[in-house]
């Protein structure tokens, strides 16, 4: 058995196998795997006895449920108005320059993916970004380079 099948089985045991348990199971897989592969979505569909189309439909609806292969660290820059007005574009350029990827891309070593997100709720500390579940606020180009350097060392 693939480890992901085991993970899905455990998640289903933990949350239940009803239709309304789909979301926590999808989140559980994303937490471990960073994204939902076709294989995991089919396995989840089988485990919960749901059509695969419905699992895929749910996964594609929520922006934090990735269904394309993602890097170990997913960087999400808030793209909404306040962050934009407070210099989000400079932050984005700094990251793109440092990691040599564009929005939507993943570094060749599979460590970083760069995405934009809707409002993270940190307008008062804009611009803001997330790296996995960690929030970084009051960003400047300088600050973002420091943060990424730390991650680059960590990996």
């Amino acid at each position: 058995m693939y480890p992901v099948s085991e993970l899905i089985k455990n998640l289903a045991d933990q949350h239940g196998r009803d239709r309304h348990n789909l979301l926590p199971i999808l989140q559980g897989v994303v937490e471990q795997e960073k994204y939902l592969s076709e294989y995991s979505m089919i396995e989840i569909a089988r485990e919960l006895d749901l059509p695969a189309s419905e699992v895929f439909g749910t996964a594609t609806f929520y922006s934090f449920l990735e269904y394309k292969k993602m890097g170990k660290y997913i960087i999400r820059i808030c793209k909404t108005i306040t962050c934009s007005m407070k210099g989000k574009n400079q932050i984005l350029l700094a990251i793109e320059d440092m990691l040599k990827i564009n929005v939507g891309g993943t570094t060749p070593d599979g460590n970083f993916s760069l995405l934009q997100s809707n409002c993270l709720g940190f307008c008062h500390k804009a611009p803001a970004m997330l790296i996995n579940n960690e929030v970084y606020t009051d960003l400047t180009a300088e600050k973002v380079r420091e943060i990424l350097s730390a991650y680059l060392k960590k990996k």
Binding site: E38, M41, I42, A45, L50, P51, A52, S53, E54, V55, F56, G57, T60, F61, Y62, S63
Partner: protein, 583 residues
Amino acid sequence: MEMVNLIIDHKPVVVRKGSTVLEAASGIGIDIPTLCYMKLDDMNIENKPGGCRVCVVEVKGRRNLAPACCTEASEGMEISTHTIRVVNARRTVVELILSDHPAECLICAKSGNCDLQNMANHLGIRKIHYQGEHSVYREDTSPAIIREINKCIMCRRCETMCNDVQTIGVLSAVNRGFQAVVSPAFEMNLDHSVCTYCGQCVAVCPTGALTEVDETGAVIRALSDPSKTVIVQTAPAVRAALGEEFGMPAGTLVTGKMVAALRRLGFDYVFDTDFAADLTILEEGTELLNRLSAFMAGDQQVKLPILTSCCPAWVKFFEHHFPELKDIPSTARSPQQMFGSIAKTYFADKIGVKRENLVVVSIMPCLAKKYESSRPEFSVNGNPDVDFALSTRELAHLINLSNIDFKSLQNEDFDAPMGESTGAGVIFGTTGGVIEAAVRTAYEIFTGKQLPRLDFEELRGMDGLRKATIDFNGTPINIGIAHGLGNARKLLEEIQAGTSEFHAIEIMSCPGGCIGGGGQPYHHGDSEILKKRQRAIYSEDQNKTIRKSHENPYITKLYEEFLGAPLSEKSHHLLHTKYFDRS
């Protein structure tokens, strides 16, 4: 029962608690326009995502307009259904939908039958004030159904049919916002999915987003090719619905006019699929009796119940979802395929035409028949037994195209030999009909006695799941009937669990059977139309002189001259098939 009082357009109305504003209004004759909403009364299925907002009404004391289809009527409510504010909102909503809809109405397959077009007309929209982005999505073509998602308005009716009625679950809304589309899992094409091609999604699609593969052009080319002999077969359900396409009331039988029209179109021989239905009964009925006798003699190897196999969507369904049961359905091919196979051997020899020069066209109430005729096991050296399967709607197009005044045609008869059929063949077109036809023949062969009556009312009706026990001269035979794949699934799960009490089960994929097929004139969810078509089918059966398949003289002759006996080696080769595990 708790009731609530409310006022709609100044009229007081009392409704059951839990009713929607839409239901309350229609109860007093106020017609609130709807677009995405769909109600299938008999199946207790409702599609009301509240997505299109066309049915909005004004509720006194409420700031926003409320969608009538999914707003519950409550005590003291005061509703206005057509104030200026409401009408303007409806127009805005439809204009916004149209702003992202291809303006191809002139050449769209759904033109004239399109709910969106009708709505735009109803609201008198002559200009679209909103210019915005257009969604672009690839076109997906399968052997039977075309998806043109650019024309989709996200009403989700197809999803309701696919998921709730048929329990196939191929279609689901995927992505979000402007990118949202209805699609199979992983946005794969239909032909890679477990779609059965039942066509019920096409039957309810309000726009041209889901349509059948149009083969009328290819048929016209064949008809105008002097080197080809073109023959046609017509399925039983077609004659009970074709008239609707020409403005005749639902339930008008147009068998004679249909034959006349097909002759005018230039078909060399006009035959009847009912002939092949009679043949199916002899093959399938004999198979049933063999299995039954072996079972009663104590043979543990024999698998019961026997399931009918005429419906191609149903065949694809069990191949995908219940492959372990693939030995249970009868191995008999469907009437369409039996016809094709006999036409290209027996009949081709009889008229001295080579297989390659004989073109078999079938007129079917069904879209899955297109898929069925394309299955590789039903062709010989790349030449299919059935070349083209047209839907009832496509036949109507052909008739219109050829300037035939359908309503004024004089009745004509089918050609011999493959146009002769019995009443048993006719009732194949409705739920319960195949098994009733089988009972008529199996009873007489099994008991050696004449049937005391021919109408088995206990097998008829419109309930999704029915059962009856027929007394075979002291031997009780339990019969199950399901229409709609969701109901079929229930019977199959019983078989899987070993709790099935049936000896024989009839399954048809479409609600109502073939009369409600995906290729029939659009009935827009009105089940009364299905009941009228059903009555028409039974009345044709009543009026036939011969009503038992084994008494069809041309079938007897076919066995004498060509096949030998039911389940003979030749029959096996030409009239039976095998099923594949597609799980």
